[in-house]
């Protein structure tokens, strides 16, 4: 597909122009954080960010989402499904690791038998524009160990790569190409492409943090009861930060809220780190301590998801590593498992 060049300082203008026509989610500075948010008229997108604090999964899978509404009648309740139409949107400037997470989440939410319309509708109507990591942002990044690359179009409809003074714009899918009019007229030349290849190779090389993510699968297959699992969770606070920030964590709760005679059924993010997550009415809890919860989280990413969908459910963004308040490091866990 076609490739173009845009001047580096043109990017914010393009995002804002798109925001006149669509709902545009772009990185914006909020206090000390960079977060993806709908771009308002007076907002300035912030593209010189490293990575957003939250993974942008909330664009397709919001923290809280209404699934249906109901109204009290004399005989009980009548209900109606929440109208599930997503507006045309653009997710502008996500990092390739986060774009990779969408491919992984698709496998779960868009299965053949049970389709999750809430997720699919938003995903279908959103064009993903990835912003390649020409310089890998953090020392905790390990995307190359989990089938990712800092300059990758995986999960993206358009890929933007900083090649010096310009961005190389690559239209990856027809959905991306449909937005080509926003990206000027300058065709990319062979020189730009070879520059991109050079930058991609350098960026890949610059990722120094590596984990044996594929190698641990057969080890996890036979080590459910290994005493190793006693060694991870001791300092875990069960705060759930790792799952909250994780681009691929998808667990949710379903609950009802009533106000007067009207109510809603909502789903909200939940976490396997929480004791109540699996606690049954009888009091029985199949994962009674933080040990079992950590085993679940590790197994889910590096074994169960592989069994179910033939893909590791980790994109190497390093958020859980950076923001864990007690410095539990998934990279070390995987490394330790590889030595079992």
């Amino acid at each position: 597909m076609e490739k173009r060049l845009i001047k580096k300082d043109a990017l914010a203008g393009i995002a804002k122009k798109m925001a006149d026509d669509f709902l545009v989610w772009a990185p914006v500075k909020k206090e000390d954080n960079v977060l993806f948010a709908p771009l308002g008229r007076n907002d300035e997108p912030f593209f010189s960010y490293l990575n957003s604090k939250n993974a942008p999964k909330n664009v397709f899978f919001p923290h809280t989402e209404t699934m249906m509404k109901y109204t009290r009648t004399e005989k009980g309740m009548t209900f109606s499904a929440e109208v599930n139409k997503a507006e045309q949107s653009v997710l502008f400037g996500v990092r390739p690791c986060d774009a990779h997470s969408f491919v992984l989440l698709d496998k779960l939410f868009d299965q053949e038998k049970y389709k999750d319309g809430y997720y699919i509708e938003k995903r279908k109507n959103t064009t993903v524009i990835s912003l390649a990591c020409a310089t890998p942002p953090y020392t905790s990044c390990f995307c190359t160990s989990v089938d990712g690359e800092p300059v990758s179009s995986d999960g993206a409809d358009i890929l933007l790569t900083d090649i010096g003074g310009d961005y190389l714009v690559e239209f990856v899918t027809p959905k991306g190409e449909a937005l080509s009019k926003y990206f000027g007229e300058t065709k990319a030349d062979a020189q730009a492409e070879s520059k991109k290849a050079e930058i991609a190779a350098q960026a890949k090389e610059a990722i120094k943090s590596k984990i044996p993510a594929h190698e641990v699968k057969p080890i996890l297959d036979v080590n459910f009861d290994n005493p190793f699992w006693n060694t991870i969770h001791g300092k875990c606070l069960a705060c759930g930060t790792c799952t909250y920030l994780c681009p691929t964590c998808h667990c949710f709760d379903i609950s009802d809220e009533v106000k007067g005679s009207d109510g809603v059924r909502i789903r909200s993010w939940d976490s396997c780190m929480f004791p109540l997550f699996t606690k049954e009415t009888s009091g029985h809890n199949p994962r009674p301590s933080q040990k079992e919860r950590w085993r679940q989280r590790t197994m889910h990413k590096f074994k169960y998801y592989v069994d179910m969908f033939n893909a590791i459910s980790c994109v190497g963004c390093g958020r859980c590593v950076m923001y864990c308040p007690v410095n539990i490091d998934i990279r070390k866990i995987v490394q330790d498992i590889s030595k079992l």
């Binding site: 999750d116 009533v258 059924r265 699996t278």
Partner: protein
């Protein structure tokens, strides 16, 4: 395509208090839109999410058999928020059900075999569905001998008492009902389920045991069946886990790489051996 998170509207048509402690009731639900009954075509062993607006949902095994037309039944113990609300409901109330969810008792595998059904206490509900399905005149020929061993702690805690009486009159069913401890009016058998299984000693020849009950019953019943020579492929049970979505997405009911809601709840012991022991 049907949104799998949205329940079908149903009316509570009939409520039957099953036990003398009054905390287990059977709810007969009728679809508000008759065409929904077709969409809710189920197989014994499957479950549904009972939906009470303002309270939430809870997963409950389907207690009726698909051969019973016009309604779906769930037998529910009063335990948490949703089931307590359900127990306080009156006939005529509007509520919702989702499903049918999960796999089912493996009817095709059971066909042509002798079936031993072992149930304990309140876990008899989806077994009742299976028994009524097999006993139906359209299906009875597809199955060999049917042996049922069902126990409760007291006579007052036995479910489906009228139906048990009817089954007792049949000649094409070997029914063994037992209670841990009888009372003045109890004329039936006394003894724990594992002991009764040993006494009845069903043959392993061309036979499958379908077992559901509290963990303590399962623990002592399985050795009896191993001793009788039943293979792990031919002992089948059903798991329970905390569930929300019921369709393998919300992430809480997995046992290893299997979601109990979607890949279960029915597993053979041979299948369970391959899963991680976390349930």
């Amino acid at each position: 395509m049907q949104n799998p998170y949205i329940p079908y509207p149903v009316v509570v048509d009939k409520i039957i208090t099953e036990v003398d402690t009054k905390d287990i009731k059977t709810f007969r639900l009728k679809f508000v839109n008759p065409e929904d009954e077709q969409k809710y075509a189920y197989i014994p062993g499957q479950f549904g999410e009972l939906s009470i607006f303002g309270k939430g949902e809870c997963p409950i095994g389907i207690a009726s058999s698909p051969t019973q037309k016009g309604y779906v039944e769930f037998t529910v113990q009063k335990a948490g928020v949703v089931t307590t609300a359900l127990h306080e409901m009156e006939e005529g109330t509007l509520m919702g059900i989702r499903g049918p969810l999960g796999n089912s008792w493996p009817l095709d595998y059971l066909a042509g075999k002798n079936i031993v059904v072992v149930g304990g206490g309140f876990a008899f509900t989806t077994l009742r569905s299976l028994i009524n399905y097999m006993l139906h005149e359209d299906n009875r020929k597809r199955f060999g001998n049917i042996t049922v061993i069902y126990g409760a702690r007291t006579p007052g805690l036995l479910l489906y008492k009228d139906e048990l009486a009817e089954w007792g009159k049949r000649t094409d069913l070997n029914l063994n009902v037992t209670v841990d401890k009888g009372d003045a009016s109890w004329k039936g058998r006394e003894g724990f389920v594992p002991a009764v299984c040993k006494e009845v000693a069903p043959s392993k020849e061309n036979a499958v045991a379908v077992i559901c009950g509290p963990p303590v019953m399962i623990r002592f019943t399985l050795p009896v069946f191993f001793e009788l020579g039943f293979s792990k492929e031919n002992i089948i049970t059903s798991l329970e886990m905390r569930m929300k979505c019921g369709i393998g997405k919300c992430g809480r009911c997995n046992v290893g790489s299997k979601y109990v809601c979607k890949d279960g709840p029915v597993f053979s012991l041979a299948e369970l051996d391959k899963l991680t022991p976390e349930y």
